[in-house]
């Protein structure tokens, strides 16, 4: 055996000793802590513009509804209340799935494993595209129950972030407001071929928008 050349101890230590990433559940929890801190200097910057957008969107929707007549106003008020309840319960479900360490019932990066798993558990067949090449590796899936909907939840990763994608059959009442934010979490909503999709994550809103595009493109293939 030939003697190895002398090495830098610092370099060897950095090779041998891993730097750990905090677990997702801890990160999600820490984010809720940071946003309730008296001087949270990180979170608010990230979501204030989004919230402003949400206010603006609400104003536009309200103005449009006002123009459409009084009956609709009364009706959409209850819609708006129902929607904000839906948004908060989606975020609650997302956070709970991370905290309990129970993100997936079926854990696989193979869509041939995840897609059949839903058969017989829900009455629809959610598309399960593999999006690793687009930067969103499939983590798995699970069943969940959100605001009266039995939902298929697909779990995708984005760097250190977890994205929960909740899917259930679309109804006419939920086809509006494409984005929302709640407690620093971002949400994106779309409907496609009779299914209603809600993506929830602590990832930044543009990343979630990129996820929506990637998923729709992947599902169409």
């Amino acid at each position: 055996m030939t003697p190895e050349p002398p090495r830098s101890m610092g370099a060897l230590l950095r090779e041998a000793l891993p730097s750990y990433k905090a677990p997702d559940a801890l990160r999600a929890w820490a984010q809720t802590q940071a946003s309730s801190a008296p001087i949270a200097y990180d979170r608010p910057r990230a979501w204030r513009p989004l919230r402003r957008f949400a206010y603006a969107a609400t104003f536009v929707v309200a103005a449009a509804i006002g123009w459409m007549g009084h009956d609709l106003v009364a009706m959409s008020r209850t819609d708006a209340t129902a929607r904000s309840a839906l948004v908060s319960s989606l975020v609650d479900t997302h956070v709970r799935s991370l905290m309990a360490g129970h993100v997936t019932d079926v854990q696989s990066s193979d869509h041939h494993t995840v897609k059949p798993w839903f058969a017989g558990k829900v009455t629809f067949a959610p598309p399960v595209p593999e999006l690793a090449a687009r930067g969103f590796p499939l983590v798995g899936g699970r069943l969940d129950y959100v605001s009266g909907h039995t939902a298929a939840a697909l779990v995708y990763g984005r760097g250190l972030h977890t994205i929960n994608l909740f899917i259930w059959p679309a109804s006419t009442s939920d086809a509006d407001v494409p984005t929302a934010s709640y407690n620093g979490y971002s949400l994106v909503h779309w409907t496609d071929r009779g299914l209603s999709y809600w993506a929830v994550s602590d990832a930044a809103a543009p990343e979630l928008a990129a996820f929506e595009r990637a998923y729709i493109a992947g599902a169409a293939q």
């Binding site: 050349p5 090495r7 041998a16 000793l17 905090a22 008296p38």
Partner: protein, 164 residues
């Protein structure tokens, strides 16, 4: 504090030798940090300040469980970490494992100083703040840690002279 979450968790892993203990300790530390956030004078010192809280939390917890966890079990946790490593050339993996064991068996004062310096790239001033000792002590601990490591890895690898 969030930008320093990984640094906090990493330090906790090396001080507790255990993933779930490290998670608990980091969580406790963040609770404390949120509660005492108003005492932080300067945001640029946020990392050192949080790491100091994590360190105190880790040592506090370990005193509580020291009677129940034998040292053998601690070593086993280290081996679990080794098994988690992706496949690399066997020789290199063996050397890296030796390094991890050598670091894990350093006395606390030397190990924390070495981790903060080499892994977290803290300045001597930051390490002095975090570990609550004078800068001179930081430097002598660092030097002793390196000498010990070189001695326990003797025959496996030779090191460049880089003390100071």
């Amino acid at each position: 504090m969030l930008p320093h979450l990984d640094a906090a968790y990493t330090l906790a892993r090396y001080l507790t030798h255990d993933a779930s203990e490290a998670e608990d300790a980091t969580q406790e530390a963040i609770l404390r940090a949120v509660r005492y956030f108003h005492t932080l004078r300067n945001e640029s010192g946020a990392r050192a300040w949080l790491l100091a809280i994590v360190r105190r939390e880790c040592y506090g917890r370990r005193r509580k469980i020291v009677e129940t966890v034998a040292f053998d079990e601690v070593s086993e946790h280290q081996l679990v970490d080794v098994a988690e490593q992706p496949d690399v050339a066997a020789g290199r993996r063996l050397l890296e494992q030796r390094v991890r064991v050598a670091v894990a068996t350093l006395p606390d004062g030397l190990r924390e100083t070495l981790i903060l310096r080499e892994l977290q790239q803290c300045s001597y001033e930051e390490i002095a703040t975090i570990t609550d000792v004078p800068i001179g002590t930081v430097m002598s601990r660092l030097s002793r840690a390196r000498t010990r490591l070189a001695a326990s890895l003797e025959g496996e690898v030779t090191f460049e002279e880089e003390y100071g």
